[in-house]
């Protein structure tokens, strides 16, 4: 890659370098905003000359990919808390054999709650092979097993921190400190959005509460705030302030809109060549359209009873997550680029009660996800939708015991060295099982996949090369995948 900065030019007396100076151009766009003028000027500068420069976008219009790709949108099924790999997707017969043996001292530096650390613990769940591909999945996920032939499973993911907050920053943004753009922000920064009446990046959080790190799970870091996730609530008004709490009669609202529009146009006419003012008028028009389309997208009564049942809507424990899965389908159908689903608290953080609590987490999500698979497939949407599933880390092969040391209530502590995740849909080679962990499932050993690798692969599936998606920030070329080289896991691509 050629250097992004021309290091040869000298500080001239009063010299303003005209070309080629990416910084000037970039700051120009940050000042232009989201208006039509922005689009026209973007065109004026000519896209092609940007080949090795950051995508200098501040708006959400759809932009071309780096290369052609099948997947157009992403549904991220985020499993906050850290699902246990050896109880879901990574069977370990050696763990059965060594059940009860001491192991703590060998991994002491990797254990969060040292006081509760117990011996090696076999999985309380039973594994079987499923689908034509024969993928091993435990009996905790009976519904997902029907779709394994569409799934590429990665058993060798690893991360670099064992604490939720930093590990979440890493998996969401590729960086351990907070303040970096999240995956979804990078995706909409790179690709914009097909649909202008809805936010490009929608977050469906659980009405029961925000995940750990809250809104930082979908913030845009140093990218313009336009690219941060917009929370859609699955009950009540989907977006904050979408409508006034006590609405005026329609005729009043119309009169107000008209007056505002006339006043703003008068203001704008006296200040020609201020694209921001056009853009601002447009943003009020978009806001009005969003009132209609957001409400429409979230109106599940438009779906048949049969479809609703597919997602487990109307019964427990699947109703809540099922609704979010169905909304996700309706959003990608309407062209939303990135949809991120959360569950309240950390239902996968099974420090204790592995057999019961993790099963409960599976029961809340398994059927809705299977329903989403089926529904996307029957509508022909799975080919252009990328489903990604996973949490912020995996769990340890040793037991974590509750304070009363009751072994029946044992769980597992955090583990940064191994985790499972999967991808499915557009461009993914279904039925693949990739990478492996050691005999006990403590660490990924073969075909290890780092978080930047995982991110690079997702960007690739969307038609972007991770090295070419960057911005210049404080003199650094900032990328989702950071400074260390990242690898696209080509073996799982169709």
């Amino acid at each position: 890659m050629p250097p992004i900065t021309d290091t040869t030019f000298k500080a001239q007396e009063g010299g303003m370098k005209k070309t080629p100076d990416p910084f000037t151009r970039r700051s120009f766009f940050t000042s232009v905003g989201a208006g039509l003028h922005g689009a026209a000027l973007l065109h004026l500068f000519g896209r092609d000359s940007f080949a090795n420069e950051p995508r200098v976008a501040t708006d959400l219009r759809a932009r071309p990919t780096h290369f052609s790709a099948k997947a157009k949108s992403v549904i991220q099924l985020f499993m906050n808390g850290g699902p246990s790999q050896m109880d879901l997707f990574d069977p370990k017969t050696e763990l059965d054999r060594h059940h009860g043996e001491a192991y703590f001292n060998k991994i002491a530096g990797e254990v969060e709650n040292v006081a509760d650390a117990g011996a090696l613990m076999r999985s309380p769940f039973k594994f079987a092979k499923h689908g034509e591909c024969g993928m091993s999945v435990s009996n905790a996920l009976p519904h997902l097993t029907k779709h394994v032939d569409d799934i590429a499973l990665i058993r060798s993911l690893f991360t670099t921190n064992i604490t939720h907050e930093p590990a979440l920053y890493i998996i969401q943004s590729g960086h351990m400190p907070s303040g970096y753009p999240t995956l979804g922000s990078w995706v909409v920064y790179g690709l914009g959005c097909e649909c202008q009446n809805l936010p490009a990046y929608v977050v469906l959080d659980d009405p029961l509460g925000l995940p750990i790190n809250g809104v930082e799970n979908w913030h845009a870091g140093f990218l313009p705030p336009t690219f941060q996730g917009t929370r859609f609530r699955s009950t009540g008004s989907p977006v904050l302030n979408l409508r006034p709490e006590t609405a005026d009669p329609p005729e009043i609202a119309r009169l107000q809109r008209d007056l505002l529009n006339r006043l703003d146009r008068l203001h704008q006419r006296q200040r020609p060549s201020q694209p921001n003012l056009d853009a601002r008028i447009a943003s009020y028009e978009l806001a009005a359209r969003m009132q209609m389309s957001a409400t429409d997208a979230l109106d599940l009564s438009q779906e048949t009873r049969q479809t609703q049942e597919l997602y487990g809507i109307g019964r427990e424990p699947t109703d809540s997550y099922g609704r979010r899965c169905l909304i996700a389908r309706r959003l990608v159908e309407r062209g939303v680029r990135f949809v991120q689903l959360f569950i309240n608290a950390q239902i996968w953080d099974n420090h204790t009660g592995l057999a019961t609590d993790m099963k409960a987490a599976c029961d809340r999500t398994d059927l809705p996800i299977a329903g989403l698979f089926f529904d996307l497939k029957q509508r022909g949407l799975l080919d252009e939708t990328l489903l990604i599933w996973g949490g912020e880390f995996g769990r340890l092969p040793i037991a974590q015991l509750p304070k009363d040391k009751d072994e029946r209530k044992a769980g597992r502590d955090h583990n940064k060295n191994a985790a499972c995740c999967w991808l499915a849909g557009g461009g993914v080679k279904g039925g693949t099982t990739y990478g492996s962990t050691d005999d006990l499932g403590f660490a990924a050993v073969e075909k290890r996949v780092s978080v930047p690798d995982w991110h690079a692969t997702i960007l690739h599936l969307l038609g972007m090369h991770h090295e070419d998606l960057f911005v210049n920030e404080h003199g650094l070329k900032e990328k989702l995948t950071g400074v260390q080289p990242a690898r696209v896991v080509r073996e799982i691509l169709a």
């Binding site: 007396e13 009063g14 989201a34 501040t58 040292v114 006081a115 930093p166 917009t230 005729e251 009169l255």
Partner: protein, 935 residues
């Protein structure tokens, strides 16, 4: 043709798939025993000298690598060793030349033969024929960093479990209760190794409490080897700074504009002399004239009033103020206005907020789910606001924030004065980075280093205009900042920021014996006056309680005593930073990796800014103190007039002031004056301003006066046509002209300042203005942050105080502020974003608080203007927009007002209908571009 044999060979290998064959093939690739091994003096030295010597020789040592001596080659670079004798494939030196990565300019690469010679030399053992080895392969400098990392939390300065101190070789030999830590030359008999090998130390169950990780196998190996060698110790002087002929920074490097002292410049004579009010105009007009341009016509008085009021106070002027200003016939009316605004206490609130962005102010820590509150951090916010209002000289302001604890002896003072307290409060500047180290699992050394790196970043980008953080892992790629200089800077702060002797934001979680090795970063040194006030208050309560206890005991008395107890004031503490003395040694972390220590460095300023005349002398600030005086030396160095460093400091600050007045800095990248930053649009002006700033004793208010009374500042926002006033607000010329969008006009990006830019209100300006216009702004100043309320749906509500006093929670920014780009402080913000998105419209149109403010605005209009619609519209415009409506605006507003009243009359009483209609009108004005944008 050359490729043929290889292809044939490969196909043969693959074809047979025999292990034996592959062996044969590899054997052919390896040099046979008979191949001559390269000789260093004869074969290697000339190549290195010719191809690498320019950057890695005696005089220039890029990346700290010197290839002119065997010792230099053995030592390696800042990233670590470059040779693995016998293994070329693992040697960085070979990798770099083989892959063509070095030399980087590609002009004079090594030939294939030269690369091959180097490979053979390394594979042959990389021998230096004439070298007389002097330095032992492992010294205490390889061992000390490991012990600091793994052991000294319990066997060091703060805590000596088993009476053992492992910080130096001598202390190790002195040993603890069980005897010396090691026996020189005898690993088998060394206690420390036994304990380590048996996994007894560090105690596995207490790792989290002590916040250490077990020693790694390679580290134990190194320690074993060191002991076996007799624990060699070398008298390495730490790498000190300041020699002008620094091999890591060349004379050419120093020539870059921002590292030069501001140049003496003469104010140019220019053509449009009539518009030259002060030198600022002359410099700007000169550049404009070069392009055949000039300034735009002067803006009208009301525009100027509004612009100046927002710039200096962050609030719109009241209609009465506008009337008085319009009526003032004094030719110096405008200058007097600027003086009035500068004297307003609102000034410090407006400009203090700019500085709080630089510092990254927040009322809580971050990076954890639970955002730990910083209970008394508001004192820093108040300190900043007061400092701006008092026009504290910027050099002093910086010295207080970087080294306030070393400015005046508070340790031995009989009385803590307000100045001493301010000094201590000011250092919270260095504590603003989000810090998760109070929690058990995010308080380890790497977490602490992140906090320190953030603080260095705030200092580097905010104060020095340099992207220092890049040099944390390797020498700066573009600027002459060697990695060593980053760690020298770190060493300056080590007395207060020591990753091996850490003060936590708060001691919670483990309260056991071990946590005593951590302290808290709160100081008890509030003013004696405040302490006495609290003591007296509490003593009075105590007397009351004692009286009640003396009387008959009833349930009522018990209740009264409880209530009295609740009224006791807690002990006041300051959130601050101070030098604690005895800092750990500072080693370079190769590639930024805390487990990979390199050279020992001493505190010192960056070499590129060091010059002969500017002293950097470290002396303890007063007798009988632990304080090292390092930061004080640095703060003085940084603010030394007529030095490279002081020049940069002044430039960065005047550029920031300029940016806030003119929309963009003379150097656009306000936090990056390095090579990847922007060049100044007006270099002479910048230098002139920087020198004028120092001449005016670093007074900000003088800088505001200078900039704001210039013609440049007073020009209009639209370039006028010949003979026409710039604005034509009451004409419809522009509206009637349907010409297609014109080509980009000259100076489209306004770098030459041919007009004043239209600026959108920052988040705080918008919120504060909405409150003020509605007559609801609570101007109570200072004190703890005004708490926000988080609604279950996520909306964060704030009260009625100015935004600078609203509690700044990282996770729960007030929604209105967040919508309009209130920055998340990670760790700070030098340039606010200006987004333009639909949710902003939704917020201003639909938010219940905004709608309520609109109703209150309408009530105010009604109170002040009576029932006449035209007067109401006029009044609303004066209040919200500091001007009368144009005829067209008035007509539109009146028509709509009539229609709105008609509509409402269908549903409510006539009085109520006109009230509601007016509220809608006021709400529309609050949503209008005229309100949100400042001309």
């Amino acid at each position: 043709m050359k490729r043929w044999p290889l292809v044939l060979l490969l196909s043969a290998v693959i074809g047979r798939g025999e292990v034996r064959l592959i062996d044969k093939a590899t054997a052919q690739e390896k040099p046979a025993v008979t191949v001559p091994v390269s000789i260093f003096e004869k074969d290697i030295r000339p190549v290195l000298q010719a191809k690498c010597g320019r950057c890695h020789g005696e005089d220039v040592r890029k990346g700290e690598l010197a290839l002119h001596t065997p010792a230099g080659i053995r030592k390696g670079s800042e990233s670590g060793p470059i040779l693995v004798p016998g293994q070329s494939e693992k040697s960085r030196l070979y990798e770099m030349v083989r892959d063509g990565e070095m030399p980087p300019d590609k002009k004079n690469p090594l030939t294939k033969a030269e690369v091959e010679i180097i490979r053979r030399w390394i594979d042959g053992g990389a021998r230096f024929e004439n070298e007389t080895a002097t330095k032992p392969e492992i010294t205490q400098h390889d061992i000390v960093p490991i012990l600091l990392l793994r052991c000294t939390a319990c066997h060091g300065r703060q805590k000596r479990e088993g009476e053992l101190d492992l910080r130096t070789r001598a202390a190790m030999l002195r040993g603890g209760k069980s005897g010396p830590a090691f026996v020189s030359g005898k690993p088998d008999e060394s206690l420390i190794l036994k304990r380590l090998q048996r996994e007894e130390m560090p105690p596995r169950q207490r790792l989290v409490e002590a916040m250490v990780k077990p020693m790694e196998a390679t580290e134990i190996e190194k320690l074993t080897r060191w002991i076996a060698l007799g624990a060699p110790e070398v008298a390495d002087e730490p790498d000190v700074a300041g020699t002008p002929a620094d091999p890591l920074v060349s004379a050419e490097d120093r020539e870059f504009w921002s590292f030069q002292r501001p140049q003496k410049v003469t104010v140019p004579d220019v053509a449009h002399a009539a518009r030259v009010r002060n030198p600022v105009d002359a410099f700007v007009l000169q550049k404009l004239a070069e392009k055949g341009l000039s300034l735009s016509p002067e803006a009208d008085r009301l525009t100027l009033l509004r612009r100046a009021a927002f710039d200096l106070t962050g609030l719109p002027p009241e209609p009465a103020e506008a009337a008085a200003f319009l009526a003032d016939a004094d030719p110096r009316a405008y200058e007097k206005l600027i003086d009035r605004l500068l004297a307003s206490p609102r000034y410090g609130e407006r400009w203090g907020r700019h500085w709080l962005d630089v510092a990254g102010y927040a009322d809580c820590e971050g990076r954890r789910e639970q955002h730990l509150p910083r209970p008394s951090v508001w004192r820093y916010r108040d300190y900043v606001i007061r400092s701006f209002n008092a026009d504290k000289p910027y050099d002093r302001f910086l010295q207080e924030q970087l080294a306030g604890d070393e400015l005046a002896d508070y340790e031995h003072a009989p009385e803590i004065t307000q100045e001493m307290e301010d000094n201590l409060v000011a250092t919270a500047f260095l504590r603003m980075a989000p810090d998760p180290t109070w929690a058990n699992l995010t308080g380890f050394v790497p977490d602490r280093l992140e906090v320190m790196a953030d603080s260095m970043d705030v200092l580097g980008s905010g104060v020095m205009g340099l992207t220092f953080k890049c040099a944390r892992c390797h020498s700066h790629k573009f600027d002459p900042i060697p990695q060593r200089d980053y760690y020298r800077l770190v060493a300056i702060f080590k007395g207060a920021y020591d990753e091996h002797d850490w003060l936590k934001p708060q001691l919670i979680g483990y309260g056991g014996a071990l946590s005593a090795s951590f302290g808290e970063r709160y100081s008890p040194h509030v003013t004696t006056a405040e302490r006495q006030r609290i003591d007296e208050h509490n003593a009075a309560i105590q007397r009351d309680i004692d009286t009640r206890k003396g009387g008959p005991q009833t349930p009522a008395t018990a209740k009264q005593i409880n209530e009295l107890n609740a009224k006791r004031l807690p002990e006041s503490r300051l959130f601050t930073l101070w030098d604690r003395g005895e800092p750990s040694p500072t080693y370079i972390y190769r590639r930024g990796d805390y487990q990979n220590s390199g050279t020992l460095v001493a505190p010192g300023p960056p070499a590129v800014l060091a010059d002969r005349e500017t002293t950097f002398e470290i002396v303890p600030p007063w007798p009988d103190t632990k304080s090292t005086g390092r930061r004080l030396a640095f703060a003085r160095w940084l603010t030394q007039p007529n030095s490279s460093a002081g020049g940069l400091t002044a430039r960065v600050m005047v550029n920031r002031i300029w940016k806030h007045h003119f929309g963009q800095g003379l150097v656009k990248s306000v936090g990056n004056f390095g090579k990847t930053g922007d060049r100044p649009s007006h270099p002479e002006l910048l230098d002139w301003l920087a020198q004028e700033f120092v001449r005016q004793r670093w007074s900000l208010k003088e800088m505001h006066r200078l900039m704001m009374t210039s013609s440049v500042y007073r020009q209009g926002g639209q370039r006028g046509r010949e003979g026409e006033g710039e604005r034509g607000r009451n004409t419809n010329n522009a509206a009637d002209d349907p010409s297609p969008s014109p080509p980009l006009p000259p100076d489209a990006d306004n770098r030459l300042l041919s007009r004043m830019p239209l600026r959108r209100m920052e988040a705080e300006l918008l919120r504060d203005s909405l409150l003020l216009v509605a007559g609801q702004l609570d101007e109570t100043r200072f004190g703890p942050g005004d708490a926000v309320t988080v609604r279950p749906d996520g909306l964060v509500l704030s009260g009625k105080r100015r935004s600078v006093y609203v509690q700044q929670l990282r996770k729960h920014p007030a929604s209105l502020l967040e919508s309009f780009d209130l920055p998340a402080m990670n760790p700070n913000c030098l340039q606010r974003a200006e987004s333009l998105v639909a949710p902003q419209a939704l917020h201003l149109m639909n938010d219940a608080t905004v709608r309520e403010l609109a109703r209150q605005f309408a009530d105010r209009v009604q109170r002040e203007a009576g029932d006449d619609s035209a007067r109401q519209v006029q009044r609303a415009y004066w209040i919200a927009l500091t001007r009368p409506p144009s005829d067209e605006e008035l007509t539109n507003c009146l028509q709509t007002l009539t229609s709105l009243t008609e509509q409402w009359t269908k549903q409510v009483s006539a009085a109520e209908a006109s009230r509601k209609a007016l509220a809608t009108l006021c709400h529309t004005i609050m949503n209008s571009a005229s309100f949100l944008y400042v001309d």
